[in-house]
Each structure stands twice: as structure tokens, then as C-alpha cells.
């Protein structure tokens, strides 16, 4: 179809719009759009750009707070650190592209989130990646895992932003729709932030970065559809990442931003030039005139439709203050980058596009952005919820304890993620105080006493069994993970990965999940400042498990004083905290192929109490180090603690239900070590239950109970725990 041809309902349907939406377009325009304009509607009204199914729910999130400088709605959210500095962060999904081409899909996911951060004037200082795959028994999954990890490594390492943490899970619910969520955080001076606003009538609009090709045309629409058998047809859309060009773009922009020449700037992400131009004009309450023949092209004969919808990477749209054009061009020239004036700002509240002298786009902004459709989609509680949520806990018989544990520790869900994060440069920029393997990554800020901590959490199995409580648990776990390194939560970004919102059962999961997250965040008083919704993670009518990834940022006042892991080896190991333990819904039972029974009850008050105990303990130097209990329960937590301190442990206890105590999951608990008497008295003061479990023990990892014994030389344990994943990544 030709770019300036008048379209019909049939074309609208083909571009993923509904009949009702087509009617709405006609009503807004009072005329019939041409093909380019229709393409713009279809992109901006897609789920991915418009949040049409999620908007009404996202309002429930708490978004305000003393430290919040920018909440949801901009390229990224901003939280104040002190009177000078702030952090700018966001998380995004690149699920569909990563399934189609894992290396490039994941790489461009990293590239995209980095741009969201540095367009705001912040220098990106770290990345995290949250990955969800199907079981590695499937050869294709092994291919996807390796491709995704190498893609993230390729982009992040090259551009020089450390990947300091993340999470990785393997459940077959993700076998046809893997999830790749990437988090990025940057740091900026508080009063040197740039926004995606087109302001100042007559100001020039610049296009900067790589040339435009046909890659990714209609990526946003693709991310708003389920996978069906026509997957192959969608393949030509693959975008290629060029981290070297992005590094130049990053340095050039940060250099320009030191001056006073930029009025507003935005990354060309999903829906490329379309979303960046409309959104910038919307935020600036202005209009834009664009000359599409001026866009630097990589491929011959591209038409306005393709130009407006291309998702070529490493590009930005920028509004430059009058008289500063030369200044800007000079810097881009230094960095060997294309920068071209392609139009100017108006006050018409319209985006007007010209091509070969013909006006091919003449669209008011409001209908496309703020008046885009919003849906309150029907929802319905899925039948599996009641079937699976059995009250009675399951019982697991273990005959050969040692053998079963050795097997369990090699389950990729439990096994060390080192074969992944070893491929990520996690130290470049020399701020990384705690590397991957700790509950949270910890970064110092050069020239400051304080530091920041980061974690990314969600347990999809629990969110499946109970979307509301499971999601609240994700928040609780994140808070706990921050507390385990002595940091207090200051802000959240999220990436809400769900199935098809047109399916009422998925919509129910979504609504429940959002409510669970909101309640928990309100309880802890943590604001959401940015996020992303990824719907349509569905193949042939099968949706993924609900997976609301929580990316949480923490603050630590005096980073030098807090951590004392080295001194820890001489102290006792305690289990602190409380809460219901269950075997049903534990990873161990899942590992054994059992998936039935409700998840353990969450008690946010207990969580808060534990976190207070941890933070106070660090501050008063009672606690030298801590590690929380999560997937795999006490046993796995002990193994991980042992690896963190590079030392075995000697644990003895007797309990009524020892399997439950060792492998059950639930509640708010952490292992702590430090000054024994101080820990004990603090636990009394704060009324946090405490059990002494044993000590560290150089060469041997040993757990003895009345009925069970697990003993293994520390070096063997180290090999064992890496092998589970390593064997798929060699």
C-alpha cells in the first residue's frame, strides 16, 4: 500500500486496530486518514505505547514521596539522593524480540533502556537483567539462554555500564514466551535534568544518531500481539544493536548537556520517530513540523510510512534552543555522529509531516496520545486458582537425603548464576562494592559517603498460584534483599509481564497483582517512579505466568562503615525472622514435580520488623553480614551464605519437621552473623525471633539434624553449585 493512499477499515484491522478504534479515528479526524497516518494511529494506540488496558490500574500505585523528583510518565523516574545528586532509573521488557533473535533482541533491549536514562542527562552507572526461560531440558531454551546472555554482555560490556545483578528462572510456563527485562540506573545532578518536551515555537528539531533503516517496522504493534504460527512472517523485523555508536551518542549528549543548548530530548524507542515526536509535542503542549526527506536513511527508497515507524536503534530526537545549533553540531561532529535538522517546533498542537513537498501527516496530538483509547477490560478469576490453592500442605518423603540435595542444588533455578554474570562486566566504572551473588548489588558514589543498593525480584510460581500475595511477596523480598546489605528502600520501578489482556483471566491476574504490589508498597511507603507493562506474552492461547518484576533501589548512609563480611567467619550463624513455612509451592516441591497447595501467608508487619532488625544491626555493628531466605529455603540460603564467605558451615539442629524447616519456603527470614551477644540482645529488643544454627567452618559444609545429614567438602560444593547451569553454557 502506498504511503499517501487513503485507507479503509480493512487496512485498519490489518494493522491491529479494532473496528471501534477505526470509528474513533474517523470521528477524531473528520476525514479518512492516509496509510502513513493510519500507521501512526496503530502504533500509538497499540497496547505497548498507549497502555490502554493497564492505565486505569496503574493509577493505584503510590507514586509520591519526599525523594521523588519525577514519577511515572517521563522517559524514566527520578529519586533524590541529596541536595546535589539524584538517581534516574527504569526497567523495560524486550520479550518478543528476544524470543525471535535472542542475541540481538536482548542486546537492543539493553541499548533501549540505556537511552531512556541518558536522554534525561544521567550517566548510566549500572544495569540489571531479569530473565525467565522454560526448562533447559529443551535444546531451544539452551540456545535462547546463551543468546540472551551473550547479547546483554555484548551491549553492556561494550558501552561500559556494569551489569551488577539480576535474576534468572526456568519454568516451562515461559517456554514459548521468554522474558527479558532490563533495568538501568543513572546518576545526574538534580538541577541538570532533561525532559522529553518539545518547547519554544521556532526551535529547531534535530535527528541524531544512526541512520534509519527498515528494521523493526511496527515493533510496537508486534509487542502488542500474541505469538501465533505466523511468527516467521514477523522475523524480518529484527533490529541490530550497535553499542559502539550508542557509546558515542552517550558521550556526545552528556557533553552537550553540560552547556545550555538542549530544550528537550527523547529516545526513539518503540514506534521510533512516531512516538518520540508525538510524545515530545504532547508534553511540551506544542506542535511539530517534520521534513521527512531530511531523515538520514540507510536504505534506499524508504517512504514516510516506513520512516515514521522504523525502530532502527541508537537514534534520538532533540529540540535545540535558538542560536545554539552550531554548538550542538560541533560536538556531534567531534564524535563522528549524524545530526540533522529535520523540522521545528510550532504551537499548533499538531504533528505535520512533509515528504517531497507533499503534506503526508496532518494529525492533532491529543487524539493520539492523551485521548488514546483506555479500556476497562472484563476480568474473571481463573478456575485453576481454587483447584491449586489447597489449604493442606503437602508431605515429601526423602529416602536418600544427600543424593536428593545434590540433585536439587544442580537444578538451574537453584544453581549459581555465575556462568551468567561472569560474562557481564560488573566492575567497570569502579563503583561496585558488592558484586552479583549478594542479595543486592551495592554501589558507592564517588565523592560521597553514601551508596545505593539494587535488587530485582519476583517469584513467578507464587504469582501464578496467588497473583495478589505473590506480587506483594515480590515487594517484600526486594525490601528484605536491600536490608540484607544494610540499605533502605527509596524507590521502585517495575516490569509487569502478563499474558493476553483480552483474556479475562489474565486481566484478573493483572488487577490482583497490581493491587498486591500497591498494598505492599504503601505499607513500606515506597513510591513507584517508572515502569513498563508487557502484555501479550502468549502463544497459541497459552499465557505465561504473571510476572511482575520489581526493581528496587535502596540507600545506604555510610557505605564504608556498614560491611564487614571479612570479619564474619568467626561468628555464629543465626536464623532471624518468622512466618509460615510451606512445602507446597516451594521450589523443592516444584523440582519434584508437585504443583499444588497455596503459598505461605505473607505478613508485612513481620517483614518490616525483620528489616528494621537488619538495618539497626548493621548500623550498630551487631550484624556483619546477612543473607535472606527465599527460593530453596534455609538449606539453599546456607549454601549461598557459605559461598559468599568462601567458607563451609557447621550447622546442627533438631526439629519436629526437619524437611519443612530445611526446604520449606515462606515468611520473612534471614541468616545473620556478627557479634553474637549484640545480635541476641537486639533480637530481644526488637522482638525478632532468633535461632542459633551453628558456625562457619573452613573446609567442610555440614548440616546435621536428628534425621538427616548433608556433608560435603567446601570446594566440592562450590563446583557442584556452579555445574547445574554451567553445563548448559559451555
Amino acid at each position: 500500500m502506498k504511503y499517501n493512499e487513503i485507507v479503509s477499515l480493512k487496512d485498519a484491522l490489518a494493522l491491529g486496530l479494532s473496528k471501534a478504534e477505526w470509528k474513533k479515528i474517523l470521528k477524531f479526524l473528520k476525514r479518512i486518514p492516509n496509510y502513513t497516518e493510519l500507521g501512526i494511529f496503530s502504533a500509538l494506540w497499540s497496547e505497548h505505547c498507549s497502555y490502554k488496558s493497564s492505565k486505569i490500574y496503574l493509577k493505584k500505585f503510590p507514586t509520591k514521596g519526599k525523594r521523588v523528583l519525577q514519577g511515572p510518565g517521563e522517559n524514566a523516574g527520578i529519586i533524590k539522593l541529596d541536595d546535589e545528586l539524584c538517581v534516574v532509573f527504569k526497567m523495560e521488557s524486550h520479550n518478543h524480540p528476544s524470543y525471535i533473535e535472542p542475541f540481538q533482541g536482548a542486546a537492543t533491549g539493553v541499548g533501549g533502556i540505556l537511552r531512556d536514562i541518558f536522554t534525561m542527562g544521567a550517566r548510566p552507572i549500572c544495569l540489571m537483567d531479569s530473565l525467565f526461560f522454560g526448562s533447559l531440558k529443551d535444546q531451544n531454551m539452551v540456545y535462547l539462554l546463551n543468546g540472551v546472555v551473550e547479547g546483554i554482555a555484548f551491549y553492556g560490556n561494550c558501552i561500559g555500564v556494569p551489569t551488577v545483578g539480576g535474576q534468572t528462572s526456568f519454568y516451562d510456563a515461559f517456554k514459548d514466551n521468554i522474558l527479558v527485562n532490563v533495568f538501568c540506573l543513572g546518576i545526574a545532578k538534580k538541577d541538570e535534568i532533561f525532559y522529553g518536551k518539545a518547547k519554544g515555537k521556532g526551535n529547531a528539531v534535530f535527528y541524531v544518531g544512526s541512520k534509519t533503516g527498515r528494521d523493526g517496522i511496527h515493533g510496537a504493534t508486534m509487542a502488542s500481539e500474541s505469538f501465533e504460527d505466523d511468527l516467521k512472517e514477523k522475523k524480518p523485523n529484527v533490529q541490530i544493536g550497535d553499542p559502539f555508536t550508542e557509546k558515542l551518542l552517550l558521550e556526545a549528549l552528556l557533553e552537550i548537556m553540560k552547556g545550555d543548548s538542549i530544550e528537550g530530548i527523547q529516545d526513539m524507542g518503540a514506534a521510533g520517530l512516531t512516538s518520540s515526536s508525538f510524545e515530545m509535542a504532547e508534553r511540551g503542549k506544542s506542535g511539530l513540523v517534520l521534513y521527512l526527506d531530511k531523515i538520514p536513511l540507510r536504505e534506499k527508497d524508504m517512504d514516510p510510512y516506513e520512516i515514521m515507524l522504523s525502530e532502527s536503534q541508537e537514534r534520538m530526537l532533540m529540540v535545540v534552543k535558538k542560536g545554539k545549533e552550531e554548538e550542538v553540531l560541533k560536538v556531534f561532529k567531534k564524535w563522528d555522529l549524524d545530526a540533522v535538522e529535520i523540522g521545528y517546533v510550532t504551537d499548533t498542537k499538531k504533528v505535520e509531516g512533509y515528504f517531497k513537498g507533499e503534506k503526508v501527516i496532518d494529525l492533532e496530538i491529543e487524539p493520539l496520545v492523551s485521548k488514546a483509547p483506555k479500556y476497562k477490560r472484563p476480568y474473571k478469576k481463573p478456575s485453576y486458582i481454587d483447584e491449586l490453592n489447597k489449604e493442606e500442605d503437602i508431605k515429601i518423603e526423602i529416602k536418600n537425603f544427600e543424593k536428593e540435595i545434590i540433585e536439587f542444588l544442580q537444578n538451574p533455578n537453584i544453581s549459581s548464576k555465575k556462568p551468567i554474570y561472569r560474562q557481564y562486566d560488573h566492575q567497570v566504572q569502579t563503583n561496585t562494592v558488592l558484586k552479583p551473588s549478594f542479595d543486592s548489588a551495592l554501589l558507592r558514589i564517588k565523592g560521597k559517603d553514601y551508596g545505593i543498593a539494587l535488587t530485582s525480584d519476583v517469584n513467578p510460581l507464587w504469582c501464578y498460584l496467588n497473583p495478589r500475595e505473590g506480587s506483594a511477596y515480590a515487594v517484600a523480598e526486594a525490601v528484605r534483599n536491600l536490608s540484607c546489605v544494610g540499605a533502605k528502600a527509596i524507590g521502585v520501578t517495575d516490569c509487569l509481564n502478563f499474558g493476553n489482556p483480552e483474556n479475562p483471566e489474565v486481566m484478573w491476574q493483572f488487577k490482583e497483582s497490581i493491587e498486591g504490589i500497591s498494598e505492599a508498597l504503601k505499607f513500606f511507603n515506597i513510591p513507584v517512579v517508572s515502569g513498563n507493562v508487557s502484555f501479550y506474552n502468549e502463544t497459541s492461547k497459552k499465557s505465561i505466568w504473571p510476572t511482575p518484576t520489581i526493581g528496587m533501589v535502596g540507600f545506604i548512609k555510610n557505605i564504608k562503615k556498614v560491611l564487614n563480611y571479612e570479619r564474619g567467619k568467626k561468628s555464629s550463624i543465626y536464623l532471624a525472622g518468622e512466618g509460615e513455612l510451606r512445602l507446597s509451592s516451594s521450589l523443592f516441591s516444584f523440582h519434584k514435580g508437585i504443583l499444588i497447595g497455596r503459598i505461605p501467608k505473607l505478613n508485612l508487619k513481620n517483614e518490616k520488623k525483620l528489616c528494621k532488625f537488619l538495618l539497626n544491626g548493621f548500623k550498630s555493628k551487631a550484624i556483619f553480614g546477612a543473607h535472606d531466605l527465599s527460593e530453596g529455603g534455609l538449606l539453599v540460603s546456607l549454601v549461598e551464605l557459605s559461598l559468599l564467605l568462601n567458607s563451609g558451615v557447621d550447622i546442627k539442629f533438631s526439629k519436629e519437621n526437619e524437611i519443612l524447616f530445611l526446604l520449606g519456603e515462606g515468611g520473612s527470614k534471614a541468616l545473620v552473623f556478627g557479634e553474637d551477644n549484640k545480635i541476641e540482645s537486639l533480637s530481644k529488643i526488637l522482638e525478632v525471633p532468633l535461632i542459633k544454627l551453628g558456625n562457619f567452618n573452613e573446609n567442610l559444609f555440614s548440616i546435621k539434624t536428628n534425621n538427616f545429614k548433608f556433608e560435603i567438602p567446601f570446594d566440592d560444593l562450590k563446583d557442584l553449585i556452579e555445574k547445574g547451569l554451567e553445563k548448559f553454557m559451555e
Binding site: 551473550e150 560490556n157 561500559g160 559502539f244 557509546k247 562486566d425 569502579t430 564504608k560
Partner: protein
């Protein structure tokens, strides 16, 4: 006395090196853009790590043509200190200022991890503060760190005492075929080499990453302190 830290397009450890030199080791330093043509006011130069030109083609291959490299060559000839770290090492080999080449890691994967290094020889510029045979811990972060040269060159390197560091186990044992002792598969476990004169050092591990206790180790400071003492005379 001042050290130049060269910034190539795609360098990403430039600021880290500058920070370690200036703020931690206390050596006056400056970042210098690769298109500059003179290092007149400097007494030493560091080529930092990163991905110059994206490591496209071969790591370091394109950067060797940067205008500033003429000056780096002059420094090398005149006996002034030249230190190449990671990508900087790769650039020095590509430019022919150091022998050999750095191939893809044997595992074909990027490796970011701590390694143990044995100080193989003495050197008055870079290793004064270290003893021959001493074991230090530094991190590596690279895709192409697998050192290679032909037999004849290797013999020469050994004979001329041009090997600076070799990868080893924590107890100092060198095992070329053991991935734990020689993670990238380097020939003769070579982690860093000098030129014949001993004023050019190229090394894959990153000393600038371990100069502060808060980051886990200070073993990298020895190299910068040696350099400082040498330059201050």
C-alpha cells in the same frame, strides 16, 4: 610530571584509570582525546581498557591509526612509560609496540572475574613495588585476552625477561591447561608483557579496578605507585 590517559572512541575504562591515578595514587593526570597530536607536556601515557571502535574487526585494530598513536610510538622509543591495560594492551600489540596478539578467549565467552597473577620479572618502572614471584589478585574483563605469539617470539620474551605477569592459582601454581589457573587460555599463561626496553607494559588484568579497599582489593596500587616513584625520581 603528568600522565596522559588516552580516550579513544569506545574507551570505557578511561575515567577509571584517571581516577585511580589522580585520586588514589596521587599522580597528576589528564584525559587526552585520541585526535590530539602531541603529548608534549606529559611524561607517561596510559592506554585504558574498553572497546575502542566497538572492538569491531579485531580488538585494538582501528585505534592503532589514531593521530595520538604517533606520540605513543615516540614515547615508546624514547624510553618513557607506556602502559596499556586490556584494550590498551590489544592496541599496543596491534600497533606493533608489543609482540604477539590477543585472540578470543578459549571459552569463546567474555570473562569478568578475579585472577591471581605471579610477578614474573623485575621492572624499574612498573613493578618496583612488587617482588619477583609475588602473587597478586586483580580482575579481568575481556573477550579477547588469549595471548598468542610464535615459538621464536616466546623464547625471546622469556630470554629477555619481557614477561611481566602470568596467570596462576591462589597458591602461585601455574597450570597452562587448567581453566581455573589460566582462564582465557593464554600461551605460557601470559597476562602481561614488556617491550625489550621495559618501558612499555601491556596487561589484560585491570589494576585500576583494585586500588581501594572498599572495592575488594588494593593490589593494583603497586603498579601505579611504582610508576609514580619512577616519575618522581
Amino acid at each position: 610530571m603528568k600522565i596522559a590517559v588516552i580516550v579513544f572512541p569506545g574507551s570505557n575504562c578511561d575515567f577509571d584509570v584517571y581516577y585511580a591515578l589522580k585520586e588514589i595514587a596521587g599522580i597528576p593526570s589528564e584525559l587526552v582525546w585520541h585526535k590530539e597530536k602531541t603529548l608534549k607536556n606529559f611524561s607517561g601515557v596510559v592506554l585504558p581498557g574498553g572497546f575502542s571502535y566497538g572492538d569491531y574487526l579485531r580488538a585494538g585494530a582501528i585505534a592503532k591509526f589514531s593521530p595520538i598513536m604517533e606520540e605513543v610510538k615516540r614515547f615508546a622509543e624514547e624510553g618513557k612509560p607506556v602502559l596499556g591495560i586490556c584494550n590498551g594492551f590489544q592496541i599496543l600489540t596491534e600497533a606493533g609496540l608489543l609482540e604477539g596478539a590477543l585472540l578470543r578467549n578459549r571459552s569463546l565467552k567474555f570473562l569478568c572475574q578475579d585472577v591471581f597473577l605471579k610477578v614474573e620479572n623485575k621492572n624499574p618502572i612498573f613493578l618496583k613495588e612488587l617482588k619477583k614471584g609475588q602473587i597478586i589478585k586483580l580482575p579481568i574483563a575481556h573477550m579477547d585476552g588469549n595471548y598468542f605469539c610464535d615459538d621464536k617470539t616466546l623464547k625471546e620474551l622469556i630470554k629477555n625477561k619481557q614477561i611481566a605477569f602470568r596467570y596462576c592459582l591462589h597458591n602461585g601454581k601455574i597450570e597452562e591447561e587448567n581453566i581455573k589457573a589460566n582462564p582465557n587460555g593464554s600461551l605460557y599463561s601470559i597476562a602481561g608483557i614488556f617491550n625489550k626496553k621495559g618501558n612499555v607494559l601491556g596487561m589484560m588484568p585491570h589494576p585500576e579496578r583494585y586500588v581501594e579497599k572498599i572495592l575488594g582489593s588494593r593490589d593494583g596500587i603497586y603498579i601505579f605507585r611504582s610508576l609514580k616513584n619512577f616519575l618522581m625520581g
